[in-house]
Symmetry: C2
Subunit: 244 residues, 2 copies
């Protein structure tokens, strides 16, 4: 499993992903699920993946043109004229990779599936955020649905639904996401630290603050330990049920 | 889908269930999923069901001995000498009902599955809470896992994990459960009001306070509306991420 969130704020885009992959509960590994493409001043694209790891790694490799010698690579994602075209390219690549596995005589086609969040900005256009399905189609975030989750989304969703505000700062968004990720960690063994994040400032057209949150990160520890007490205080602020 | 929670407190047992059933998103109905058996001074049993409605209604009807004329009914669940025996009776009934549907030439056996929470007390024994699987086996709640959820459990789980305390009052437990149910309602259309609840006081051996919470219940409205603000205040009580 996996947990990734992409979020549209007034200030820009926020991305966070976990790193755990598993083939059975007794076979877990750590892999990066967040990938970036950047041409400073022209475009920044961030992609996060959930689903079959062979599929998602193949998609990223093909987008990078790693089939070619390093000097010959001119990834077309770096030439797409708009975010919509970039999303179409990623979606077509994803569908082709899945179809290719299927054609090769494999049976469990659903096992090859993957879902992708793609967000970023290309010079001349606004910041945009897409959710790309294994069928090769996609949807875009809007004001009514300003964030996308992929993977194990249920445990961490209630806090996002309640506390998301488009005007929040990056600092507040990181706090919200870490609470959402912590709730998921506590309930699903197939979501695990470390987490990657990227905070893209709208119109900067350059990779924003990004990093990796490890288990011993002092801020994560503060949030994880403080949230239990904060929730209890929140509950206590509501009146109790009246048994008469 | 469904959402039911059974919880062990120092004071007794707390049960809450929703009432929505669906056969597709365009075919929803309201059915009671909480059932009681009581012999005042001797025993109180509460049963909640998730899964195929035909299966769970058949289980309850058989436990009630509705195959017999009303005057001939002596439900054996009212004669079980212990909660363990009562759980075994319910589990065997559940397994038999599912097996019977399967035998009758039906294919989609998983579609007949159901899961049951059974809790209560029989004179001479302690309060006990069981989770009964469609295979006819069951587990009992203990101090490490003092509550069971069935149905759509994910959205409402983080708050239970964080805020449950064995020493909480019935009034506090109702508040906690309504927050958990409200988080689930907001995310899954197949969980719906009204909710049923039963608060069983340990060693009372009589049906405790029970009732039905409708959408326009003023207390539920207060909790539902107040929780969003309370959560935001809780988040604000944690330090924000330091971007340096």
């Amino acid at each position: 499993m996996t947990y990734c969130v992409g979020m549209v704020l007034d200030r820009g885009l926020v991305f966070m992903s976990d790193t755990r992959t598993n083939a059975g509960l007794d076979n877990i590994s750590t892999f990066r699920k967040m990938h970036h493409w950047e041409i400073p001043g022209d475009r920044v694209l961030t992609l996060m993946t959930a689903g079959n790891l062979a599929t998602t790694q193949a998609v990223v490799s093909i987008l990078d043109e790693r089939t070619k010698a390093p000097d010959d690579r001119e990834p077309s994602i770096l030439k797409a004229p708009s975010m919509f075209q970039a999303a179409r390219l990623v979606a077509d690549t994803l569908r082709d990779v899945i179809a290719n596995h299927d054609q090769n005589g494999q049976q469990a086609s659903s096992a090859f599936n993957a879902t992708i969040i793609l967000g970023g900005q290309i010079n001349g256009g606004p910041t945009r955020l897409f959710l790309i399905y294994p069928e090769g189609n996609f949807i875009e975030a809007g004001t009514d649905t300003p964030f996308f989750q992929i993977g194990e989304m249920k445990y961490g969703r209630p806090i996002l639904v309640r506390a998301y505000e488009p005007g929040m700062s990056f600092e507040e968004a990181m706090r919200l996401l870490l609470v959402s990720f912590d709730s998921t960690l506590k309930a699903n063994l197939t979501v695990g630290l470390p987490f990657h994040y990227h905070l893209y400032e709208a119109d900067s057209l350059t990779l924003g603050r990004s990093g990796r949150i490890e288990l011993d990160d002092p801020y994560f520890q503060t949030v994880s330990q403080g949230w239990g007490d904060a929730l209890k205080t929140a509950l206590d602020s509501l009146p109790t049920f009246d048994l008469g």
